[in-house]
Symmetry: C2
Subunit: 250 residues, 2 copies
DNA sequence: AACAAATGTGAGCGGTGCTCTTGCTTTACG
DNA sequence: CGTAAAGCAAGAGCACCGCTCACATTTGTT
């Protein structure tokens, strides 16, 4: 089991960290590790605090000294998964030359797919049906949850700046609909450094929706058994790319 | 609660149907009705046979006379939802003139969305993350599950026949990838009456993936709060339509 | 050494899916 | 018509779950 965790450690307190505090961190890490194992083998719905405690050799009630509730554990796993995905995608993206726009899109898409295929349950945790009666606290998931989108927005703006944007009418986009649909979103801080308009953002959303839909469809086997998932994905990846980036000689 | 059910009744046995058999059918219908209510209010994961039995005034063990297990009840709900969705989509589609290709696509898309928005938990049951340790028996879900796809395939073939197909290179489709990805699928009986090739089918899958992704994204709120979901959907619907149907004057 | 905070422990509550046995009622058949 | 079979309601019970509480123990600090 890979560590999966890579959340940046904002407050690297150099406090001495007594024996007790150190042990607490270790136990918390153990809990998260075992929980991830259970998640990977049995899925989120089957995640049981009692089972995790049992695996760690502690009494069932003891785990509540370290984890507030099952939902809280789920939240930690979700945040963890978000970071894991974000770093995987970012790593792949950053390994591609900035001026290779198509390459950057493909890198993001392929990284997303391979992460999702490798961590299907984690993927389901963040992009699957929401767990009933549970809502991830926005203040903890917002940053990692939008990390991938931030990357996409930057790429989208680079495409615009390079004059490589696919013509919106190729997607049949109606400006007034796009404005109504996502215009207000452009006020978000995420778009502060960009010069994106509603139509372009909508193009980006179409591409992202197609991309995410491709991965979802494959991971959740929504189309039943497909001869070659990888090949099909390459086709859909190309289609999603074309939603935003026009072919070179155009 | 609308009946939701509309599965065709293939064997309308005119058997006398004694008192006992009649009661059994009534109880089974009651169970499904109450289960659907619970599903609509609390979601699939919170569906409890005990709670359903309690609502029906029967002892917890009694419900097992009518339902084999919780999974079996889930299967029935899934099949039910499939039929409900399929008839909603089919009804909307059939109300559109056959030669209005764009209209037919839009009708399917809008019907899908409005059904999903109106029955979010049922939608999650069908197109959400699969329930762990549970796999819907293919022989019971295949027919209703592919009903919508059958409709799309027919439309796709009509588009091809009308010479209105979007040029595949607009989607950046690579023939060899498409062949590897979905070529073998064309052997399925679903495509018997059509003359579709792998590339065209892949186009259709791209369009469907984008369409389904749009709905999923909205119902599961994957993008967070969006100003106007309806307007955004119209944009993505148009984009998905353009994956298969070229503009009229082309 | 003494004290308070952090931690470990086990019992217990109400909930779940599911099985089994015990009677009772309805149906079907000789 | 009577009897045997099949269907059914009811309850106890098993193992699991999330979670709480009172209590004992350990630990770090004053």
């Amino acid at each position: 089991m890979d560590p999966l965790t890579a959340s940046p450690d904002p407050d690297a307190t150099a406090a001495p960290l007594g024996k007790r505090a150190r042990n607490r961190l270790a136990v918390e890490a153990d809990i998260l590790r075992v929980a991830r194992e259970h998640l990977a083998t049995d899925g989120a719905a089957a995640l049981s605090l009692r089972a995790v405690a049992r695996d760690l050799g502690m009494v069932s009630s003891g785990i509540y000294r370290y984890v507030e509730s099952r939902d809280e554990l789920l939240t930690r796993l979700i945040v963890d998964s978000y970071w894991s995905l974000a770093t995987a995608v970012r790593t792949a993206h950053d390994a591609t030359p900035v001026d290779d726009l198509e390459g950057r899109w493909d890198a993001i898409g392929r990284a997303l797919r391979s992460w999702a295929v490798g961590h299907p349950h984690d993927f389901a945790l963040i992009y699957g049906s929401p767990v009933p009666d549970y809502e991830a606290p926005a203040e903890r998931t917002e940053e990692p949850g939008t990390a991938v989108l931030v990357l996409l927005v930057a790429l989208l703006d680079d495409v615009r700046r390079a004059g490589r944007l696919t013509a919106p009418d190729r997607l049949g986009l109606v400006a007034v609909h796009a404005e109504a649909g996502v215009g207000a979103l452009l006020e978000a801080p995420m778009f502060a450094a960009t010069e994106l308009d509603a139509v372009t953002l909508t193009q980006g959303l179409a591409a992202w929706t197609l991309l995410l839909g491709s991965v979802t469809s494959e991971v959740f086997a929504q189309l039943g058994p497909v001869p070659d998932g990888r090949a099909l994905f390459e086709c859909l990846l190309a289609a999603s790319r074309r939603c935003v980036i026009a072919p070179a000689g155009d």
